[in-house]
């Protein structure tokens, strides 16, 4: 369609070259974009470039990936300027639904596909199956608003954290907290726990952590919806951060990139207290086994919340990009492959890891190899 436009772009030669490199990795699947053969006459396109990507690539899903997606979209536009890329950060549920209904080519989701969705995915994917690629790993920071505490972090273990969020510990100078924070002068101030009021992957991961590591102090089921009622809460990450900022003594949890100048909790792992960091988040992912039912296409990770691995930060959100192993036409295949390859690439991961973009944790080389293998297997019906 708009192939001829490619040549008009000044940087297209470089772009196509980069793309050729990206696609060379998956030569065995034998997809050269047939649409590209028609791109004669415009002259400047190198004849052996596999494809000038074009068309639309629509995705929708997790809002947690929203900022990272913006970064990736910009990076992807550099290598494929003619692809109309869009990502609607409408939420994981909406994203999965729209993907399964076939209106988007990929979805972002904070949770893995449910069994019935996997069945539905086979139909949507023209007999293929769904790919679940853990491309976005982000530490969840436990944030608090205590301007009078000058220490860099407050140290807490999972049990204390669970009791705080369950309303069992109500004062900042409670002995349970003080015992873990020698030398820190804790104020005699009521603790105001803040939770997310909407259903979210952040809440789900946080409650999973509390339930798994809380030594029984957290009696509620892990859920995307906060189980304790009657407390302060905020809608979305912004609502959460704003609420925590609005009063002293508050404590909440949010995507680490949004912690800003609020205090953050160092979590007890093994015998040490680990503050959040991208590397620490990546470590727990590497230390975690694959989830039950995971395949080499559905790379679902069962996060090991009780890990004692040194320097690992266990409160982590893993968000998946969900795509098909089979698409209807070659253009879709080429676009999806190119995009996901970019996202999983070192460059793409470095982009999203920038603190001003999303502050995510780059995936490890080992995970990248697995992801790339899954991407390479995407084929035309």
């Amino acid at each position: 369609m708009s192939i001829s436009r490619t040549s008009r772009r000044a940087g297209s030669l470089v772009a196509v070259g980069a793309l050729a490199f990206a696609l060379a990795a998956c030569s065995d699947s034998g997809t050269t974009n047939p649409g590209a053969t028609g791109s004669t006459g415009s002259g400047s396109t190198t004849s052996d470039a596999p494809a000038a990507l074009s068309g639309t690539l629509a995705g929708a899903g997790a809002s947690s990936q929203g900022k990272a997606m913006e970064g990736w979209a910009a990076g992807f536009a550099d290598i494929a300027p003619d692809v109309q890329f869009s990502y609607d950060a409408a939420g994981s549920g909406a994203g999965r639904e729209q993907f399964l209904a076939g209106s988007t080519l990929f979805a972002g989701s904070d949770s893995a596909l449910k069994p019935e969705e996997i069945t539905a995915a086979a139909k949507r994917c023209f007999g293929g199956e769904a790919l679940e690629l853990p491309v976005y790993i982000s530490p969840i920071a436990v944030i608090y608003n205590l301007p009078q505490v000058s220490a860099a972090n407050i140290n807490l273990d999972a049990k204390t954290l669970a009791q705080i969020f369950d309303g069992k510990i109500t004062k900042w100078n409670d002995p349970a907290i003080a015992a873990q924070n020698e030398g820190v002068e804790l104020p005699d101030l009521a603790i105001i726990p803040v939770n997310r009021s909407d259903e979210s992957g952040t809440t789900e991961n946080f409650t999973e952590y509390l339930a798994a590591a809380g030594e029984g102090a957290w009696t509620h089921e892990p859920s995307g919806d906060w189980p304790v009622s009657g407390g302060q809460s905020g809608n979305g990450t912004s609502g959460m951060v704003d609420t925590v900022k609005a009063a002293e003594g508050t404590i909440g949890y949010a995507d680490a990139s949004r912690a800003g100048d609020l205090g953050t909790v160092a979590i007890k792992v093994g015998d040490a207290y680990v503050p959040y960091s991208a590397e620490a988040a990546a470590k727990v992912v590497d230390a975690s086994p694959a989830a039950e039912g995971a395949t080499d296409k559905r790379l679902v990770i069962e996060l090991d919340r009780t890990t004692t691995a040194e320097g690992a930060y266990p409160i982590v959100l893993v968000s998946y990009d969900i795509a098909c192993s089979v698409y209807e036409n070659a253009a879709d295949v080429a676009n999806v492959k190119a995009f996901l390859t970019y996202v999983a690439s070192e460059e793409g991961q470095a982009r999203s890891a920038q603190p001003d973009v999303a502050g995510s944790a780059p995936i490890s080389a080992e995970l990248r190899t697995k992801i790339q293998a899954a991407i390479d297997a995407i084929s035309v019906k």
Binding site: K67, E97, S238
Partner: protein, 352 residues
């Protein structure tokens, strides 16, 4: 005559004793001074507390003095004046602060480039990018909604004013009133339910949002057009009939023409009413970063949803949200001005 019967030299007036004109102002000033003094002493002098205490003291002082000097009726009047004024000022505080907040926070990123660029390729802390795509989306969706609701609204209003008699017209009038109260999110859910049933669960388009807005807009259009048509003097209609003009032509050429200014104004105000709707668009139209000119297919960016989603992103997004809000208000203002201009230009000069 009271003048004749009053021997005292000082009371040569027709009215009873009145407080001087400066009395209320003096009372305000005195109350403010006392309030400030008292609150400084108790150490709680903030603008809010001083204002509150001033109002209270002023009301009490002026009313009691007036009651003593002028009698109970005037005292009640003065109390009412004070209360009305205080209510007015009290309500003005949030409204003024609202406008001020939007303008001052919105001005941070607001610029010509902001209005003419979209969000493609903008990420992280970049302050570039803008709302061009959202402006286009908002205008397209609103225009589509207008195209749906104005003909329906116009014809229904004509029916009600010119033809409507009997139970049907009564029923329509009643349900139009009821329809005015449909919450915007319900209209959004309706559009969502309608289109997902017809077009499959994943269909998203500007049209979907436009239908939701049209549901909200139509009753407003009907109401205002109806009012305008009723303002057309019956003499005009009768004159037209007397000339042998059939009724439908009379309506088209006399009634509508006479009231066209009011109708346009009404439509403009109805547009202003729906252009800022967020919730129905949030669940129907979605959000993208580039301009979409196709109302029938694909997501569209709209200003209110853009503002909300940028706020959700935090960081620079919050500034962008305010700038988008400012843009939206400017558009609404522009619509209002255009409406006023049109009504002035079209207003029949011999009408009332």
């Amino acid at each position: 005559m009271p003048v004749a019967t009053a021997p005292a030299s000082s009371a040569l007036t027709l009215t009873g004793n009145r407080l001087p004109r400066w009395a209320p102002w003096a009372s305000v000033a005195g109350s403010a001074l006392v309030a400030w003094g008292v609150l400084v002493l108790t150490g709680e002098h903030t603008a809010t507390t001083v204002a509150a205490l001033t109002a209270l003291l002023h009301a009490v002082a002026l009313t009691s003095v007036s009651r003593y000097v002028e009698g109970p009726r005037r005292a009640t009047d003065r109390l009412a004046t004070t209360l009305v004024t205080v209510a007015f000022l009290l309500a003005l505080v949030p409204l003024v602060s609202l406008l001020w907040t939007v303008v001052s926070r919105g001005a941070v990123l607001f610029s010509g480039t902001f209005l003419t660029t979209d969000m493609v390729g903008v990420f992280g802390d970049m302050t570039s990018g803008g709302v061009a795509h959202a402006i286009v989306g908002t205008l397209m969706v609103t225009l589509t909604a207008t195209l749906i609701s104005v003909p329906i609204g116009l014809l229904t209003a004509i029916y009600l004013v010119e033809y409507g008699r009997g139970p049907l017209a009564k029923g329509i009038t009643f349900f139009v009133d009821v329809m005015t109260g449909i919450p915007s999110i319900v209209a959004g859910l309706f559009a969502f339910a309608l289109f997902t049933l017809l077009m499959g669960p994943a269909y998203r388009s500007g049209l979907m949002g436009a239908v939701a807005l049209a549901v909200l807009m139509t009753p407003v259009v009907i109401r205002s057009v109806e009012e305008m048509l009723r303002l057309v003097p019956n003499e005009l209609r009768e004159a037209s009939y007397a000339l042998g003009v059939p009724k439908w032509l009379t309506i088209l050429k006399v009634v509508l023409r006479t009231s066209v200014a009011g109708i346009v104004t009404g439509v403009m105000l109805a547009i202003a009413r729906v252009i800022g709707e967020t919730a129905p668009l949030l669940i129907t139209v979605g959000m993208i970063t580039r301009t979409n000119w196709d109302v029938f297919e694909g997501r569209m960016a709209t200003l209110p949803v853009f503002a909300y989603s940028q706020y959700q992103q935090g960081g620079v997004g919050v500034d962008r949200a305010w700038a988008a809000a400012l843009t939206l208000i400017l558009i609404v203002m522009l619509l209002n001005l255009v409406a006023r201009g049109i009504s002035r230009a079209f207003r029949p000069k011999t009408g009332r």
